[in-house]
Amino acid sequence: MVVDRDLVRHLSESSVSVELQTEEMTLNIGPQHPSTHGVLRLVARVDGERAFDVQPVIGYMHRGYEKLSEVRTYPQITTLINRIDWVAGYANEIPFVVAAEKLLGLEVPERAQYIRLILTEMARISSHLIFMASYPLELGAATPLFFALRERERVLDLLEGVTGGRFHPNFNRIGGVKPAYGSGSSTRKVIQDLPAGFLAETREAMDRVLEAVEELELLVADNEIILARTKGIGVLPVDVAASYGVSGPNLRASGVPFDLRKVEDYLPYHLFDFEIPTGENGDCWDRWYVRLLEIRQSVRIIQQAIDGIPSGPLQAKVPKIIKVPKGETYVRAENPKGEMGYYLVSNGNQGPYRLKIRSASFSNISILPWILEGVLVPDIIAIMGSLDFVLGDVDR
């Protein structure tokens, strides 16, 4: 009696008179679709504009990083994992190297920790900026994209200047950041540090980011149609979000002031003064606005870090060939998308015995079947976009 149940639900929700006979069809959104952020596929039953039983189909970008990690050495793995969430590639590396350092018992020099922190926050800014730019585009407003991407490019240029890569920095080494010396016997040994002028330029870029955020707020937050499209849409209650493992800004938008930067010690965030912005209703609008507020906090953190950055080495003493002692640990970090963690099992060898990658987007979009039940087709896009996922982060 499936049909009857659906009919009743349909009638109660769309208040169409009983005489009107409608026919359901199966709509296949993706894997190639303008707003699935890559290769996500949604299979939905639609009745007119209303969708039921939305089932995400993932795995089109599964690259098997967990298996690949088992046949690679620790330094080689950072190359893989910054391709998980490529929008914030730098931030992915941190929990992994911290996990390895924890097992090794390494103390990372303070300057390296500060650099990690600054670059992580820059990755967060660039990730949030691309979300805040592309979300209005999904609702049909193309213009905010350019205002946000302009400043994002500035941030990425700085990241590239330090790490050599815009998206895939591969800048972290176990025990610190990039080697302080050029490698190879034929290479002249040159002391490397942050590029000259990096801190000053970052400070300037942060001011520009604040301006861009201001502009974006004017462009988007005062737009009646955007508010009409996002307020009260896709409300995510806290208990549901928690049981699905939704984390990061998506959880905070539901009103939970929980940020792993405050409770975990993977980077010295306790030294800095920042707030945890939260939303009120947990709807699409809050998810957008919380990220806007988070950019401001990230800028605050970076400004404080630039003021307080100590001098010193960038790299702890590590053996030439790193063998991580036996042990296991789970290190999680506040990635731009949410909780990113690595469960690292080492058996005393050069590569991990097992590396479980807990990525934020995977859990964040596992809520799609729940949150998309019975919504309108345009709202599918609005809700899906507001969860801010990256398919590389989903499929790993």
Binding site: L27, T143, F146, F147, I225, R229, L376, P378
Partner: protein, 335 residues
Amino acid sequence: MSTFISDLFANFWVSLAGKVLLVALMIPLVGMVIGYAEMKLSAKMQARVGPYFAGGRWGWAQLIADGVKFFQKEDLIPEEADRPVFKIAPVLVLISTVALLVVIPFGPGIIFRDLSVGIFYALAISSLSTVGILIAGWSSGNKYSLMGGLRAAGQLIAYELPLVLAVVGSVMMAGTMSMGGIVEAQIEAGYPYVIIQFIGFGIFMIAALAELSRIPFDMPIAESELVMGYLTEYSGFRFLFFFLAEFANMFSLSAIAATLFLGGYWLPGIPEDVLAYAGPVILLAKTFLLVFAMIWFRWTFPRFREDQLQSLAWKWLIPLALANIIITGALKVYL
């Protein structure tokens, strides 16, 4: 010689051929001008440069290059498509835009055909393009196209009413449905009707945007939801037809709005004999002002949701338009 030419144009068939040729040239020309304006203006609004290289300077030849490109593309018709209907849909859409131009007065006496029911004809013809869109969506054999076509149909029904009701005010004030007559009535009154009919003008412009399926009412296309809506399966010159029709339709509806509410080819203080020459320029200026506003909206707003559009039409625009008619009637009677 000159008598020969005037005799020649006095011939019904020759003048008809001349007018058809003029319209046929006008559609691509207007399409290109507006298309280029859209590219350049959107670029300006988004801190970009826009077309730059085509033609050597300012990218002026970009639209010509695009047009040539469309003709080079393969003309794909999906296996599942209803072929004859699929082929006729873009033609239908284009024809309705061409036919719209017939009743627009470009100057005193410069009009392809001054029908006594001009505005009635224009509104009827303009909704024909939505029928073309509906059958384009239906015949494509694609679910996204179908949904786009159905949304267009829903939009047509919702917005045809406010569009017609918004016009009624001006028609009542002029006392005629002839487009030329409405302009003459405004000349006689000495002011453009927008001064009194500002509600009607606003409703007309909103409904015209919905009719055109432009942002914020582009749900039939909605590229982030429906890929490209009813256009999904179209390629090559059939796509070009839709593309041209959109821009030409923008022009026609703006010209109608300019005629009904902004005084058409007339500007206060310009003598009658100058108007015969300056008329088309004045009308074009007013029209492009409205086209600019449409482009401006396009790059400022996101799109509505289908149900929000319906409630905007039925709960706000139609009651407002009816109230406008009552007020106009009262003014007409008591003033």
